[in-house]
């Protein structure tokens, strides 16, 4: 019987609670908080540094965009530039309609999906920025659209979805 074993440790025994480990782990309090956006520092002079810079890559070809975003991320890792985040924007589908008129009107449809990946960088020094830009520019593949700009609050907000019911309630309250 004793061989079947249940793992009950007697409370009076010194081995009580021998397998406990959760008290050793650091305490994690899951909070739902909005992330801080404005982290810009611009110091003039020789040490001119950009704040958050977004490199946006758009294309119709998904694999191409993903591979290029991976390449840019790895390049920044190797050049020891801090990468904050690398995320994707939602894909946009567009329908292309051809209206050919050769006697009988024909309509050919094509459905195109455009994908966008963003790599966010911090701490780019102004002496190094043009070199990095040139490297990325000369390595961009065909069919890819590059855009490098500074991160603004509008960019951050575009990732979040608006909640119309919440806004209605807030409007009703105030």
């Amino acid at each position: 019987d004793a061989l079947l074993g249940c793992h009950r440790s007697y409370r009076s025994r010194p081995t009580h609670g021998i397998g406990k480990f959760k008290y050793l782990l650091p305490k994690e309090v899951p909070k739902k908080r909005k992330e801080k956006v404005q982290m810009k520092e611009i110091s003039a002079g020789t040490e001119y540094q950009y704040g958050d810079v977004n490199i946006q890559m758009t294309s119709y070809d998904l694999c191409l965009v993903e591979r290029f975003a991976q390449y840019v991320h790895r390049l920044c890792n190797r050049l020891s530039i801090q990468v904050n985040e690398s995320y994707a924007m939602p894909t946009k589908t567009s329908e292309v309609l051809f209206l050919e008129e050769r006697g009988s009107k024909m309509q050919l449809d094509a459905v195109l999906t455009s994908h966008q990946r963003i790599v966010q960088i911090r701490g780019l020094s102004s002496t190094f920025a043009p070199i990095l830009l040139e490297v990325i520019q000369s390595n961009q593949p065909e069919g890819l659209h590059l855009l490098v700009k500074q991160h603004t609050e509008a960019d951050f907000k575009s990732r979040l979805k608006s909640r119309p019911e919440l806004e209605e309630l807030l409007a009703q309250m105030s």
Binding site: L108, S126, T127, A129, P130, E134, Q137, S138, P141, E142
Partner: protein, 245 residues
């Protein structure tokens, strides 16, 4: 103060680049790797089928079923008239009608170095013939620095003097890319004029339309490899340091 005046004269030079328009052809190893990767992703990793491919497979199965057993026509009525196979054939025909622009343009064949249409897969740089001292040399366009202006604006002025004002070129940063300094020959050297330092800046041509008249007639657009034909060796060494291929 006058006593602390430096003996070097400063010049700002602009290296105007036209970015490549097409990608360079792959090397043999690159092509082999690309083929291998496609094979790996397609067969071994079992990449998912796209919508079009799923539709095609379903319709093939339907056709098979119809031929083997005389299938009832009820199912066929609900489906669309156009089959995926027909769509594919239509697309193939359209593709065959499309004619791509040639990669090797006329300027390539005639080796006309003054045109921008040549060598669409590599960077092209502007070289101008300038008179320095009593020699006519091929150089990147340069202009002397005036006190009170930044070196970047000197370089932009150099570009403007040779190509006119409405150039759509983009300078990426304020920092120079390279420096070349040389001393004047002893005959011309004075106390205040020991030599000259040339600072190089880089700019990228945004539009390939140069309809403005060039002020100096002797200009060339050359690639990095052809630079050696025109520039002097010391100058070439310093310029090559900041050129990406």
């Amino acid at each position: 103060s006058a006593a602390a005046r430096r003996p070097w004269r400063l010049f700002g030079a602009m290296c105007l680049l036209r970015l490549p328009r097409i990608t360079q052809p792959l090397e043999k190893e690159e092509e082999e790797v690309a083929a291998l990767m496609q094979q790996v992703e397609g067969e071994l990793e079992k990449s998912h089928y796209s919508d079009h491919e799923i539709r095609k497979l379903e319709e093939e199965e339907q056709l098979k079923r119809r031929r083997e057993s005389l299938y009832d026509e009820d199912e066929a009525r609900g489906k669309t008239v156009i089959m995926a196979q027909d769509l594919e054939e239509k697309w193939e025909q359209k593709f065959l009608q499309f004619k791509a622009a040639p990669r090797i343009t006329d300027a390539d064949k005639s080796n006309d170095r003054t045109s921008l249409n040549r060598k669409l897969d590599s960077n092209l740089m502007l070289l101008v013939k300038q008179k320095i001292g009593n020699q006519e040399l091929w150089l990147l366009p340069q202009v002397e620095w005036q006190p009170g202006e930044t070196l970047r604006s000197t370089a932009e002025r150099a570009m403007a003097t040779f190509l006119g004002d409405h150039i759509q070129a983009k300078v990426l940063g304020n920092a120079p890319y390279g420096i070349y300094k040389y001393k004047f020959p002893r005959a011309i050297r004075t106390e205040n004029n020991v030599g000259a330092k040339v600072f190089f800046f880089k700019a990228f041509l945004q539009s390939s339309d140069l309809s403005q008249a060039e002020l100096k007639a002797d200009y060339l657009w050359v690639t990095k490899k052809e630079l050696g034909d025109y520039l002097k060796s010391e100058y070439l060494k310093k310029v090559n340091r900041f050129l990406l291929d």
